[in-house]
């Protein structure tokens, strides 16, 4: 069972809600994934509240927990205000904190991220920081009050998969008791399996599912891949070695010559 800020969750797959071909396909993907947490955002409303209302109704009907984000925020003040507005709308202290530092890579501004995390944690928010795989930043975020960390494995939407396995492994080793969720950069189910085999607690996906040829089928594939990686980690895997080791017993082997 995955526990995030005291909430127990059966699914280790968190799903974004953007870029699906239609609301119906989004809903189908969430069901196929058996996702219990979806990320959402806030944007300027242009249609008297009706657009947002229709989307909000769809999310309510799915019966899932909402993780609002501060996507697109480039400054601490923007992110903090967006988080407060998200709490007003969604009635949750959860916030996926993004403070973007670079336009091309969407790499987090880790300095602003730590500052915003501290402000929000002090105001009672339960912060899910979208961060890099840097260990020192992770320590600062934990000191700031974050009880979950969400390192990227590659740039958002890139589908490149884990780019720095060693850094992800190091982070896992240093924070055995902090839930670690890989956020951003996953492209295919085997990427998700890989990070789960490293002992990560969950994966947050969006583009890889939403932009697949068949999003609902891909959601189901990811759900299985994440479960498989988690089971493998729990089961304990062999370490690779250079030499062959016979799997069939040698003792009792017949001698024919």
């Amino acid at each position: 069972m995955l526990r995030l800020y005291g909430q127990e969750l059966g699914s280790r797959m968190l799903l974004g809600t953007a870029r699906y071909p239609s609301p119906a396909i989004l809903a189908d993907a969430v069901r196929q994934a058996a996702a219990e947490v979806v990320t959402v955002s806030l944007r300027r409303e242009t249609a008297g509240g009706r657009q947002g209302g229709a989307f909000f109704e769809l999310i309510r009907e799915l019966g899932v927990r909402v993780l609002p984000n501060t996507a697109g925020c480039h400054t601490v003040s923007e992110a903090v205000l967006t988080a407060k507005m998200a709490r007003e709308v969604f009635g949750t202290n959860w916030i996926k904190l993004e403070v973007i530092g670079h336009h091309d890579t969407l790499q987090p501004d880790i300095f602003g991220l730590v500052e915003a995390a501290r402000i929000l944690a002090d105001e009672g928010f339960e912060v899910f920081p979208y961060t890099t795989d840097d260990l020192v930043v992770a320590e600062r975020l934990v000191e700031a009050g974050c009880k979950v960390l969400m390192p990227w494995c590659a740039p958002i939407g890139s589908a490149m998969g884990p780019q720095n396995i060693a850094a992800l492994r190091t982070m896992r080793a240093h924070f055995p008791d902090v839930p670690l969720i890989v956020d951003a950069g996953i492209g295919r189910p085997s990427h998700a399996t890989t990070v789960m085999e490293l002992g990560y607690d969950a994966v947050l996906l969006n583009t890889a599912v939403a932009c697949a040829g068949n999003p609902a089928l891909m959601a189901a594939a990811f759900a299985k891949a994440i479960a498989a990686g988690h089971a493998a980690f729990e089961a304990g895997m062999l370490e690779p070695r250079d030499m062959a080791v016979p799997s069939t017993p040698v003792i009792g082997k017949a001698v024919f010559s």
Binding site: G49, G52, G53, F55, I59, L81, V89
Partner: protein, 65 residues
């Protein structure tokens, strides 16, 4: 009074934030409002008086990743 609502200048007669929402036909309990970079809770909108050149943000739920 001239306000900047979601980045666009508008002439409005509303005196309070809740009157502004009504005038612009914004409805629903899923809206969040901020004035000049500060959150205004939904319970405070009726008492929040607007001033010329105030910057109003009206946000609502949207898809996100």
């Amino acid at each position: 009074m001239r306000l900047i609502v979601n980045g666009e200048e508008q002439d409005v007669a509303a005196a309070t934030l809740s009157e502004l929402l009504a005038q612009l036909e914004f409805e629903g309990d899923w809206l969040a409002t901020a004035v000049n970079g500060e959150l205004v809770h939904r319970t405070e909108r009726a008492n929040h008086r607007l001033n010329d050149r105030d910057r109003i943000e009206i946000l609502s739920p949207m898809k996100g990743g």
